[in-house]
Symmetry: C2
Subunit: 317 residues, 2 copies
């Protein structure tokens, strides 16, 4: 069994590939909830929705968030009534937030809600939020902290980041299905998807039970670099690395994760870095990591799984 750790778009795309080649029993996708937030009284879970919509083929490929063939009449009416419009909620997308919020208020755990909604979207594979209790990413900036969506959407990642805090992480409750996976002895590898290391993957790794589980692992952790040729495919990862003084490269990413990752999958464009990363004691595989379509996602997933299997074998020896 493979457990994939995923944030938004990059995570969603690799999840699509993994879901193409692994059965529902062979794959669980653990999704970041650090960028969840309450907006207009609704609980919005951007990463869960991006992964769910992408797996369902309902995602908007242009924006990287929200649904394809979306309409915006709610948002327009909301704006006319004086409501805040900096975070766009599409008419169809809104159904997820309304149902989720209603279920959360009734006391249902987020993991169970996610399971129900993703099944309704037609997903067969498990999407599991990293926590059933709220964890909220705060961005440290000059003079204070910003809520993640305030930084990410309202301020378009403009403020220079000084660091991050994952409020609620220390007491985060791992969902029951994830706790089961962490103790069932069936996990062959953990795959860290090419998601932002600071705001997509770090919140997952900040959940104490997950951190402990990975520290005591008997399986390999394999990661796909979100940095290709010195840039992020999407989002502010490269800008954040620069602002935090990390080299914007797959070596920079590898050194950020250190011993938490056993094997790196880097893009062909970065093949020259292979030896340097290997020199730091990590295994390295070179692959096409861009996932421009489902076929590319599937091919990368096969590469990642082959690599993970090889690492697991060498560990077993």
């Amino acid at each position: 069994m493979i457990v994939a750790l995923a944030g938004g778009v990059g995570g969603a795309r690799l999840a699509v590939g993994l879901a193409q080649v692994l059965s529902p029993r062979q794959l669980a996708v653990v999704v970041n909830t650090g960028d969840d937030f309450e907006h207009h009284g609704l609980t919005v879970c951007p990463d869960i929705d991006t992964v769910a919509y992408t797996l369902a083929g309902l995602n908007n490929p242009r924006t990287g968030w929200g649904r394809v063939d979306e309409t915006w009449n709610f948002m327009q009416a909301l704006g006319a009534l004086g409501g805040e419009t900096w975070f766009q909620l599409g008419d169809r997308d809104l159904a997820m937030h309304v149902l989720r919020t209603q279920a959360l208020r009734s006391g249902m755990p987020l993991s169970q809600i996610t399971r129900q909604l993703s099944r309704r979207l037609g997903l067969r594979h498990s999407l599991i939020p990293m926590s059933d209790t709220p964890v909220r990413t705060r961005v440290r900036v000059a003079g204070g902290e910003l809520d993640f969506q305030d930084y990410f959407v309202r301020q378009r990642c403009k403020p220079r980041v000084h660091g991050f805090r994952f409020a609620g992480a220390a007491r985060a409750q791992v969902p029951a299905p994830l706790a089961e996976i962490m103790t069932n002895g069936r996990v062959d590898a953990v795959v860290i998807c090419p998601s932002n290391p600071y705001v997509s993957v770090a919140p997952i790794l900040a959940v104490p039970a997950i951190r402990r589980w990975l520290r005591e692992r008997t399986f390999p952790v394999v990661a796909v670099s979100p940095i290709v040729a010195g840039a992020a495919i999407k989002g502010p990862a490269a800008k954040m690395m620069r602002e935090l003084g990390a080299p914007v490269s797959c070596e920079g990413i590898a050194s950020h994760y250190g011993r938490r990752v056993d094997g790196w999958v880097i893009d062909r464009a970065d093949a020259p870095a292979e030896a340097r990363i290997a020199a730091s004691g990590r295994a390295v595989a070179v692959a096409d990591t861009l996932m421009t379509d489902v076929a590319a996602s599937k091919a990368l997933a096969l590469d990642v799984l082959r690599f993970a299997r090889a690492l697991a074998k060498s560990r077993a020896r």
Copy 2:
């Protein structure tokens, strides 16, 4: 100053007429909240919205509820995700419910929310909910009670009614602006709009402070019959009257209200009933009450105001 008591469509149409001929200082429309309900975690106020949309010219004239030029993508997505779809919420309409619910949760009184939202819709006249605390109409049927919207929308008024209960009415808190009007000595007349007597007007009259104010009135109460030629223009009023053993006629309505109404405005189609209602001690005016367009609403409003003024004069003598 005129205070109009209004439910849904009939109330909204007369309110439009009154707003055409009275300044914002001369008119307050007090709206039924008995059919408000919580749905999908949102507080929906159907009568407030119908009156607000109608005054703003945004109402859907075909359905009698919701907004014109509406889209239904939220509802469709909600249904696909397993949500309940028996109560239709349009994409644009949803903005009202989301903003209202958010403001209610923040502790803002419904009356203040209604004021803000109706101003944003462009209204100049005051819409005041009958209560700032929840009052919920329950329909007594064989074997128990139904929530109003369950009876009205989900069961399409099919169950035979045995009576009504207005849960929360006994401790209903009249909004501050209505309390001010009830004590400012400026009210010349109260107009009961042609709304359902049982489920639109009765909840308003069940609010203790309003009931007391009307009982001790020094101004006339004028009502427009919602029954014309033995039928209701819209909605289940006639069916309810039949099931409760009341004659389905404007006389039946007049006897239902008894001494709570001083003067009746009945439709030309019911002119023969004029003498019989007058014989019971009520003043009667005959008018065109159908309000098929804004001009007709305005004409009826002028008739109602003329009648009310005459009654006020004869009271003063």
